[in-house]
């Protein structure tokens, strides 16, 4: 069995104060393993984004803990959490969050620059990451010169360039058409082939199910179902070869 790269243990999260207080997560436990693509599915307001924020070490749980490669976030301050993020986690956002004033290469290079990795080597690695997502010819383009699908590829290249243990993707295909959505999922599935890396994709799009190794359903702040899909590996491998 592959290694657990990230886990949430009995995570509870209370948001707001007083009468407006909401228990967004009610004791959620979840493990992400290297070499697996996990889909986190659920309706709006089910706690997906809150769980993603906690797994991404951007929010701290009210109760319970999160461990990233065995390292608990308990007691860590904002700067320590930032260090944990930059060293272990790559993010892909629904609306890409690229920097409009930077080229594709510089957008990717930024993920290395925040880790104090700069210079020619960083530039080469950024270009290599862009080549891996099929954008070798568009490294100098700015986000506005790229289609939505291409922008999301840049975002994926930015997420993976630092070789993180975990990729967290928030609705990565929601803003894309079907073809681009498939292409993006293909790339994410390919990334998840690496046994040292786990990929979590938050979605409510059932068309992504064939790409998943594991599907976790969340509703009303609880994980209501977790399904392991052995047959998906062949699909990922097929995509990987492609």
């Amino acid at each position: 069995m592959s290694e657990i790269v990230m886990e949430a243990v009995n995570v509870e999260k209370v948001l707001g104060n007083g009468p407006a207080q909401i228990r967004a997560l009610k004791g959620v436990s979840l493990s992400l393993r290297g070499g697996e693509l996990t889909l986190l599915m659920g309706p709006s307001g089910s706690g997906k984004t809150t769980l993603l924020s906690i797994l991404g070490c951007m929010l701290t749980p009210t109760e319970g803990t999160v461990r990233v490669r065995g390292d608990s976030i308990d007691g860590k301050g904002p700067e320590e959490l930032a260090k944990l993020r930059r060293e272990n986690i790559g993010y892909v956002f629904q609306s890409y969050h690229l920097f409009p004033t930077l080229s594709a290469t510089d957008n990717v290079r930024l993920a290395l620059d925040v880790r104090a990795e700069s210079g020619r080597d960083a530039k080469a690695r950024a270009r290599e990451a862009l080549a891996r997502v099929g954008l070798a010819q568009k490294t100098a383009n700015y986000p506005k010169q790229l289609s939505g699908g291409e922008q999301q590829r840049v975002a994926i290249a930015r997420a993976v360039v630092g070789e993180p243990s975990v990729i967290l993707a928030d609705e990565p295909t929601a803003a894309l058409d079907s073809e681009n959505g498939k292409a993006i999922m293909g790339i994410l599935a390919g990334i998840a082939k690496d046994p040292k890396r786990g990929v979590l994709v938050v979605t409510h799009d059932p068309r992504l199910v064939p790409y998943a190794d594991r599907i976790v359903h969340i509703e009303d702040g609880n994980i209501v179902n977790e399904e392991v899909r052995n047959n998906s590996r062949s699909l990922r491998e097929m995509l990987g070869k492609a």
């Binding site: 956002f93 920097f99 290079r109």
Partner: protein, 378 residues
């Protein structure tokens, strides 16, 4: 080029209208500070112009003399006492005072008489452009600056006028000896100055002391002070210069007014830059939140903002320096030229950078409160 610099540069140039507004604000602020400080230095230089151009190792003056223009008088007998002090080679009397210059047409204007023993070369007119210094030894001869020809109602060398109902003939003309009081200086021999100002022959305003070669300045000064008594002061030129500056700049409030203007400029500049940097940061807040989500340290984001501030400063200062150079050129021939020294330029550049960095504090406080999780909701 470091990526953090590239990001700062692009953020800044992304919104050109805002950049222009910021730069105009900085230029306005720095030019204001530059002019005020330039006036301060120009004024500081003008008020000591006579001291700077006098040939003296020490100045002997009545106790409590505040500045060169102070008309208090010394007893002329002190000169012999001064000459008796070992190491003193010369004690040149200088007489100054205000007088009325009457033109041949009958109009009059106040002038500032500066009389010195011209044979000893104590305080002679400099920058002569017409006539000769020696000709000032002839009766009624004076030297005036060509800047004041109109004020004095004369056309040039050889012109005639009256001071205290006594004839005056312009025997030499200088260029660039201007008075910050706008009252023209009129140079002449010391005896003539006494007669034009009504100072008796038993009095003088200053004695300019020249030392024998190899004399110890401090020792002679101490000896002079004890010999001449408590009613007089013996100052080095640097001390008299500083005292004159202190009097005119701070004793009269002129310096304080110039400083107040400079501080106003700094405040205006800081507020303008702070406002635009803050709004730029607010516009780019999603990008900063993304950086934070990607795990960047706060200091990385601060660097982006501070680079923006420094770029603002460099661009703003560059343009302000051009405007400043034009102002210096335009005022060079005026009664009170704006003087921008290399030290002032460096100081202003440092001030601009510091001002812009201080302005970045509000923006930095804004990004300090960024919630990285907001990237999932926008």
């Amino acid at each position: 080029m470091p990526l953090v610099f590239t990001l700062a540069f692009r953020n800044l140039f992304h919104d050109r209208l805002r950049l222009i507004a910021t730069v105009i604000g900085i230029v306005f602020s720095i030019v204001l500070v530059m002019v005020q400080m330039g006036l301060y230095f120009g004024f500081g230089r003008m008020v000591t112009t006579m001291i700077d151009n006098a040939s003296a190792d020490l100045w002997v003056m009545p106790k409590g003399t505040k500045c060169f223009e102070d008309p208090s008088l010394l007893d002329a007998r002190q000169r012999n006492r001064a000459l008796s002090v070992p190491g003193v080679a010369e004690a040149i009397p200088v007489v100054i005072g205000f007088a009325d210059w009457r033109t041949p047409s009958g109009s009059s204007t106040p002038v500032f008489v500066v009389g010195s023993d011209l044979r000893s070369g104590g305080l002679e007119p400099w920058n002569l452009v017409e006539g000769r210094l020696e000709s000032l030894s002839t009766p009624n001869s004076v030297a005036v600056d060509k800047t004041y020809f109109d004020r004095l109602g004369i056309k040039g060398l050889g012109a005639r006028a009256e001071i205290r109902q006594q004839a005056v003939r312009v025997a030499a003309v200088t260029d660039g000896i201007r008075s910050f009081t706008t009252t023209p200086y009129v140079f002449m021999d010391v005896d003539r100055a006494r007669s034009y100002t009504g100072v008796p022959s038993s009095k003088a305003t200053y004695f300019l002391i020249k030392l024998d070669n190899g004399s110890n300045l401090d020792a002679v000064r101490a000896n002079l002070q004890s010999t001449l008594g408590a009613d007089v002061e013996v100052l080095k030129p640097s001390e008299f210069r500083e005292r004159s500056r202190q009097f005119w700049l701070f004793g009269t409030g002129a310096g304080a007014a110039l400083f107040a203007g400079a501080i106003l400029g700094i405040i205006v500049g800081t507020v303008i830059v702070a406002q635009t940097l803050y709004s730029s940061t607010k516009d780019h807040i999603n990008e900063f939140a993304t950086l934070r989500a990607m795990g960047s340290s706060r200091s990385y984001i601060y660097k982006v903002i501070i680079w923006q501030a420094i770029l603002n400063a460099v661009i703003g200062f560059g343009l302000a320096a051009l405007v400043g150079a034009a102002v210096v050129r335009a005022t060079a021939a005026s009664a009170l030229p704006i003087v921008i020294t290399p030290e002032l330029s460096v100081g202003l550049f440092v001030l601009t950078v510091v001002m812009c960095i201080i302005s970045a504090i509000a923006a930095i406080m804004k990004v300090t409160r960024i919630d990285p999780a907001q990237v999932f909701t926008r």
